[in-house]
Symmetry: C2
Subunit: 143 residues, 2 copies
DNA sequence: TATAAAATCTATAGAATTACTAGACTTTTA
DNA sequence: TAAAAGTCTAGTAATTCTATAGATTTTATA
């Protein structure tokens, strides 16, 4: 299951992507919109900034804004950042690989094979789903 | 990611499915095979028994044994028992459904839609994968 | 140039979940 | 009747997740 942190991050990104304003959006506004503890959200937005998804402007009139085209922000990337591996097992994780201590040969492990299939199926969707897709769907449906 | 408990449960089931013995298998033997804390494994096997996957024989010469055909034990079932929901969000979980507090209409939620796609893809695999498949794969490969 | 508004930084506390342990009890077999 | 096995109740330890506190820095503007 996605952690609260992950959901908060996605909500914030969605909000920023939908904001058609030219001025940056302040943390408090996003926090209030989704009932996110403000201090918690601060650290999330900072992480997103350091990862290159957001830019910020300090001081009065400041706030956060997207620096990337929402279509270029893959959901797989966001999930990995905040939720850790997409895979069910470390031994099939592309980004967080670890071998299993008890496993002699991964190629012979039935559980490994199963986890591989699940990972491939999930990844196929998550790599092709962007923040832009999420937003576009919501704006389409609300008509 | 699968919890240790889940992996322990799967290992134990796999071991029992592979055991061609006519006598029950004792906890200690399984625990040693996979370096699982014995007391922890005891509670896991008890859960599996209460869920109808295992039978047990008490007293000297006792132990645990499978009561179902491995082909009839769906991995989706085991994962849900020990690892909780397969879905990424409670609002798309078939067995652990909960609505999101912040969500006005699930049908309009882009994240909901994404989670639904991932769940369907994962479930398609996990419902069609049985303990028997896991074991068969391992016995095939080891030739 | 003082003030207010905003992000940034460091540190820590609290809550929840996961993993594991201890020990007494019951049942069965030889 | 003794040893070997599962069963039951309770609790502890470790880890991860969530949240908070407070000081600092930067910037706009009155």
């Amino acid at each position: 299951m996605l952690s609260k942190k992950t959901k908060y991050a996605i909500h914030a990104l969605t909000y920023l992507a939908k904001s058609s304003r030219q001025t940056p959006v302040i943390i408090r506004e996003i926090a209030q919109e989704y009932c996110i503890p403000q201090k918690f959200l601060e650290s999330i937005l900072l992480e997103l900034k350091k990862a290159g998804f957001l830019g910020s402007k300090i001081g009065k009139g400041g706030g956060y804004y997207l620096t990337k085209d929402p279509k270029k922000i893959k959901m797989a990337h966001i999930l990995r950042m905040f939720n850790g591996p997409i895979a069910l097992l470390p031994c099939v994780s592309l980004n967080y690989y670890e071998s299993c201590a008890e496993c002699v040969d991964e190629k012979q492990c039935g559980l490994h094979k199963m986890a591989l299939e699940v990972r491939d199926a999930a990844l196929k969707i998550l790599l092709n789903k962007s923040l832009g897709d999420i937003v576009a769907f919501e704006e389409l449906e609300s008509c």
